[in-house]
């Protein structure tokens, strides 16, 4: 059996169709088989580029929806935690903003992986949700942090008073300290990885739902 040596077009399409959701996996195989039947290198490149875009684009709405939805939820959780503590002071929002979004990320990644039976899809969704969650968290904390400093004279994350006089920029810069990064990411990143792993385990036990047909008659 003679087989064409792998070229850039084939590598691109292999990459784009690797880890497609289960119900689309056969379509990835269909596009790769079609590419294998094309000989002209320029036509192969065009076909692979266009098909790769189609493969990447599938499920983009779901990824974006889940990712941005998680960001919205993280923002809502943070605002709620801040506003509930603000009237009487409290330990700061850190005990809420670390575990609750972490749990949300685990849930979203598990759902995305399990539903599509694609580890890649789940991880991409989880990473997007993590990025959206961090952006939402920083935005809310930057705004609410000013309110905490004005009313209670403490930082919003841990309710610590400042050592000296602080201005608005100090309140925002406090959010970017190493403790803030590590404190959140140390739980959020594993949450995404655990969610994807659990989703793959749960999804892997479901029956395949491919729609692809029988041999041609």
């Amino acid at each position: 059996m003679s087989r064409r040596p792998q070229d850039g077009a084939e590598r691109l399409l292999d990459l784009a169709t690797a880890g497609l959701p289960a119900h689309r996996r056969a379509w990835g195989a269909a596009m790769r088989a079609e590419l294998a039947a094309i000989d002209d290198p320029a036509v192969r490149r065009r076909f692979a580029r266009s098909a790769a875009r189609a493969a990447f684009g599938r499920g983009l709405g779901l990824r974006l929806g889940l990712g941005l939805g998680t960001g919205g939820l993280v923002a809502a959780v943070t605002v709620t935690a801040s506003r509930l503590q603000l009237p009487h002071g409290g330990p700061g929002v850190l005990p809420v903003t670390v575990p609750v979004p972490g749990f949300l990320l685990l849930l979203v990644t598990l759902l995305a992986t399990g539903k599509t039976r694609s580890l890649r899809f789940g991880l991409e969704t989880g990473i997007l949700a993590l990025a959206a969650g961090l952006a939402a968290l920083w935005t809310v904390l930057a705004i609410e942090g000013q309110v905490w400093m004005d009313r209670l004279g403490v930082f919003i994350l841990d309710a610590d008073p400042p050592r000296g006089a602080v201005d608005r920029s100090d309140v925002i810069l406090d959010l970017f300290t190493t403790g803030m990064w590590v404190g959140h990411l140390v739980l959020w990143v594993p949450a995404v990885l655990v969610g994807a792993t659990l989703g793959a385990l749960v999804g892997g036990q479901q029956a395949p739902t491919d729609v692809q047909g029988s041999p041609a008659q």
Binding site: R3, R4, W27, S50, G57, R58, V211, G213, P215
Partner: protein
Amino acid sequence: MALGRRPSPQTTAVILALAKQDSSWRHGYDLCQTLDLKAGTVYPILIRLAERGLVETAWEQAAPLGRPPRHLYRLSPAGADYLAGLDAEAGSAHHATSRARSARPATGAAAG
């Protein structure tokens, strides 16, 4: 199952191309060439049509040595019904337009 709304011109073109050769199977790349559309346009359409039962899919039975079997497509009976529905819709729209035109006054100088 119907698409729910009027299909895009590209979707209609794919359905018509599949309808032209009745029960014979077509390849994806062959459709791209016939319609002068990119794979990134044709494949999402084929996926959608197949998922809605308007297109039947199958794998090539006798693939040449050295390459995998290709995926084949043809219009399903539901797809043929859907196309007939589109034709009827287009026909009645055309009929309504013709009737409206013929009902207009012969002189176009009503305003004024």
